[in-house]
């Protein structure tokens, strides 16, 4: 049976790879989920049957609790809370890796000479270090996303130096433990430092950098599972961990490129302190409009591009915007959605919200695909997005967002922006777009305003 389970592991690994491959397009994606589920089932069942497993009550109870908690999370959670849930699952995965590493460390002490030597110990150390720091880091991220923790970066003087020193101490302890695995009193200190480091690493990062942070934490959680594979000599774990890790890595790279900032800048750059002075200086006038005027302009538009952002999620306006899109389409307009890679609080967040609102996915366009269409578009409707539309990113070298790829909203014939007030967005700066002559500001709550516009659109909509 032990032989058989190794073959089952190979089949599971193949299924995991296929599962991710089938996530290529929405058409095959459900198949992908299914393949992953089968792979997981086979591997777990195989393990339970093949190895001598004792203490069944513990295992079964743990499974029961896990299932009881997991099902409600999956179904009761609204789609707008997906980033928080994702951060939570990174925390769980990382915690599990860290705890298993800790348990292995203490369990193997009697045979330390043979069982905790060399690379196995290195793997255990990496597993616990990454596991604990990703655990607290992810909890911090979840707190920021849920807005239980302050959104603005929390910084103090010499912060990077403090973090660096802490890291050195933890690394030093790690090396010492690898060389002398029997110094068990060092381990809790090491674990505590890792936990602390996770907190300190994340608190200076602001709310809108969370897409990148979540992707990075994803990679770390995957790597800690991988390290468990090395420690326990389980190739399936190595494969699964590597897949999760490379997924996180690629998503982080995409996010960083989309914000034109490097990893180190995101992690250590404390981006987003409100530029108080700059803001006060700009009291330039803006053109604002009412729902009636907005509806009139939209009614006569032949092409409309809607630009959603985090604000849409906060206002829970995704269903209303879909109604608006339907209404405009019935009036003969061509309606598209332009999705910037870092819109929302996690990669792909906007897509999921709009899909939930029944927007067909062939109406959702990535930045690179749709930027060329803005010059011919009659109306660009920005709702809840700010920094990703700011033209300053193109030419203002002193701007914190300089160089970031943006949506060319300013090239549309008319621009309408739905916003609650003139307060700066995440980057803490003013958006040049708002002061342009062709821009109309629509002040109000996104959901309410869109409802108003819908009411004002001609009665033809109702009959159509």
């Amino acid at each position: 049976m032990q032989q058989l389970v190794q073959y089952i592991y190979i089949v599971s690994a193949a299924l995991f790879i296929l599962s991710l491959k089938w996530m290529n397009t929405p058409a095959t994606s459900r198949r992908g989920v299914f393949a992953g589920e089968i792979g997981m089932l086979l591997a777990v069942a195989g393990t339970l049957m093949a190895f001598e497993v004792h203490n069944w009550q513990w295992i079964v109870t743990a499974f029961a609790i896990g299932i009881a908690v997991g099902i409600p999370i999956a179904y009761i959670m609204p789609m707008t809370a997906v980033p928080q849930r994702t951060a939570l699952s990174h925390a769980c995965g990382a915690l599990a890796a860290a705890l298993v590493g800790t348990a292995e460390f203490y369990q193997r002490q009697p045979q330390a000479a043979t069982e905790l030597r060399g690379f196995v110990m290195v793997a255990l150390i990496v597993e616990t270090l990454l596991g604990f720091l990703t655990f607290t880091g992810s909890l911090m991220a979840m707190g920021k996303l849920q807005e239980v923790l302050p959104q603005r970066p929390i910084t103090y003087r010499n912060q990077n130096a403090v973090n660096f020193v802490l890291f050195l101490i933890a690394a030093g302890l790690a090396v010492r433990l690898i060389l002398v695995p029997t110094d068990t009193w060092l381990f809790p200190i090491f674990a505590g430092l890792a936990l602390l480091f996770g907190v300190l690493l994340i608190i200076p990062i602001g709310g809108a950098d969370m897409p990148t942070v979540i992707a990075i934490l994803n990679a770390y959680a995957g790597l800690s599972a991988c390290a468990m594979g090395f420690a326990l000599n389980n190739n399936l774990l190595i494969v699964a961990g590597a897949l999760d890790g490379s997924s996180g890595l690629i998503l982080s790279i995409i996010m960083c490129k989309a914000m034109n900032r490097s990893f180190t800048n995101v992690l250590f750059g404390a981006f987003g302190q409100v530029q108080a002075q700059a803001h006060k200086a700009e009291q330039r006038p803006v053109r604002s409009a009412s729902a009636e005027e907005a509806a009139a302009i939209l009614e006569s538009a032949a092409s409309v591009i809607i630009v959603p952002g985090y604000g849409l999620a906060v206002a829970q306006a995704q269903h209303k915007i879909r109604e608006l899109s339907d209404a405009l389409t019935r009036l003969g307009a061509d309606v598209k959605f332009a999705i910037h890679p870092v819109a929302g609080r996690m990669p792909g967040h906007m897509n999921v919200l709009l899909a939930e609102a029944d927007v067909p996915y062939d109406r959702l366009f990535e930045m690179d695909d749709i930027n060329g269409e803005f010059p011919q578009c009659d109306v660009a409707l920005v709702i809840g997005a700010n920094d990703v539309t700011n033209p300053a990113a193109r030419h203002d070298k002193s701007s914190p967002i300089y160089g970031m790829p943006i949506l060319d909203v300013d090239k549309a014939h008319t621009v309408m922006v739905i916003k609650r007030s003139m307060n700066p967005g995440f980057a803490g700066i003013d958006n040049e777009l708002y002061y342009m002559d062709k821009t109309l500001m629509l002040f109000g709550d996104a959901k309410a305003f869109v409802s108003e516009i819908l009411k004002e659109l001609p009665a033809r909509v109702g009959a159509g």
């Binding site: 298993v100 369990q107 999921v352």
Partner: protein, 98 residues
């Protein structure tokens, strides 16, 4: 014969390259469900947690830590796959709706 470590590193290298190639091709539309799916997949670490909790001479510490680990990771498995499925079901094309 290569040692376990050498085989493991070999597997790691191959898996990383495979992972990078496959993930690169995932549609940006699906990045969110991708993340929840990869989380669910890496929850295969439940196998490690089961082995340590269920070891013949498991210490009490191992049993307790293993218990917590299994609970955490099974939550990931269950909610991960279910949420990914829920999200992925929502992506429809225009024709399908009519």
């Amino acid at each position: 014969m290569p040692t376990n470590l050498e085989l493991g590193l070999f597997v790691f290298m191959l898996a990383t390259f495979v992972g990078l190639e496959i993930i690169r091709k995932v549609s940006p539309l699906l990045h969110t469900p991708l993340m929840s799916l990869t989380n669910a997949i890496s929850a295969i670490s439940v196998v490690g947690a089961i082995l340590i909790t269920g070891a013949e001479h498991a210490t009490n510490l191992s049993k307790v830590l293993g218990f917590i680990a299994i609970t955490a990771v099974v939550t990931n498995i269950v909610s991960g796959f279910l949420i990914t499925d829920r999200m992925v079901k929502m992506f429809k094309k225009r024709e399908a709706r009519k």
